[in-house]
């Protein structure tokens, strides 16, 4: 076990703990569940750290994806529903150290994403948020909103496409 690594995780916690806790809390609406999610996510980050290519990707993307999955799982367990298998998820991201310029990039990106979401019409945005923050399937969303399934599919698709088009020139991959 490397002392330096533990210090690095502490540093990442200083930088991203608030964002991780904010996302977990938004999804679970429960402080103690959100704490468990954040703890699990940082432990996963720690366990899997040796697998990452240090030169590529963003550690925060990866961390936030884990937080999202764990938080959605917690909500589903609470509702007595089966957890769904994780999508390909975290391994699509690879991690780097939490460097100042990465933090800076994320700050800029968060700004751009908030702007992008503001460009999406209300109904499409609400539909996307029900999927992302509540973990509902499109069938469940259709029931909840009392609209046909086809409407939900196209709202998810068109809304996300608007976000994507808005972000493409603004967020450098």
């Amino acid at each position: 076990m490397q002392q330096g690594d533990q210090e690095a995780v502490a540093l990442l916690y200083e930088r991203y703990g608030g964002a991780a806790y904010g996302l977990a809390y938004r999804i679970t609406s429960d402080g103690s569940a959100a704490e468990d999610v954040v703890q699990d996510a940082f432990v996963s980050l720690w366990k899997q750290a040796p697998r990452f290519d240090p030169e590529r990707g963003q550690v925060r993307s990866w961390l936030m994806t884990i937080v999202h999955h764990r938080a959605i799982d917690a909500v589903r367990r609470r509702k007595g529903r089966n957890e769904r298998a994780l999508p390909e998820g975290p391994e699509e991201f690879v991690a780097t150290r939490g460097r100042p310029e990465e933090l800076a990039e994320w700050t800029l990106e968060a700004e751009a994403v908030r702007e992008a979401v503001r460009q999406v019409p209300d109904e499409q945005r609400r539909t996307i948020e029900m999927a992302y923050f509540e973990g509902l399937t499109h069938v469940e969303i259709a029931e909840r909103m009392a609209v046909p399934l086809g409407t939900v599919k196209s709202r998810l698709r068109i809304g996300l496409e608007k976000m994507r088009a808005y972000l493409r020139p603004r967020v450098v991959e």
Binding site: Q39, I72, P87, F93, V94, E101, Y132
Partner: protein
Amino acid sequence: MNCEEAEDLLGAWALDALTDDERGEMAAHLRSCARHAAAAADWRATAARLAATADVVAPPPALRSRVLQAIAATPQDGVARPVLAGAIPRAGDQQRRRPPPVAAARRRFFELRPAAWAAVAAVLVAAVIGLGAWNAVLQRRSGADVGRLATRASSVSALRMNGTQNAGVVVYYANEKKALIVTDGLPALNAATQTYQLWAISGGRARSLGLLPAPVGGSSVAVVPFDAGSAQRIAVTVEPPGGSAQPTTPPVLVADV
């Protein structure tokens, strides 16, 4: 599932909103269709960005020590397995992945290299550098991550502290009328009694740009609305918690944008 149906479900797939049956069929289609596999990865990356729209909330202070204790009690995965950027992993796929280059495998993931960042920053902030010069510097550096920040920038300026040039940078985006402030070597304050506050200075008048987040390891980052047409200088002062209406102390950091 055919291509038309897959196309139709891209949004729901990216947001993990498919039913279990649909998800299985979609996954099967993505394994056999390169076009939709690429599209699905792209859409999912967009969906993942929604994380940034949740408010940042300070966790309870006790969580930090809980996390660090849990980490101290948890062994790391022993074997370094490569993770390829953009790859969509599949069950049973692990053994077919390329092993990592030896040099990369030797490097510790968490090895922090503030010196590399400081070196780039030092070159950049030696003077107010135009975009062309910034790019030239970046092309000579392997730390191209920094370059991604600069690709849309209109100007880069030095942050000065007590006459030294190496206190960070201000990157100005004219199109968006925004400034990105990155500090380097900024001392921590006692949050109970003091905070850093940002100001736009124009003709001797100061307008608050808000509080600067507490620095971690000397580094703090903020994005603020800023128009170089109406103010030419950004300053940082030490103020009481919550900030002041006007600066009450001399600036500790200054940049001419």
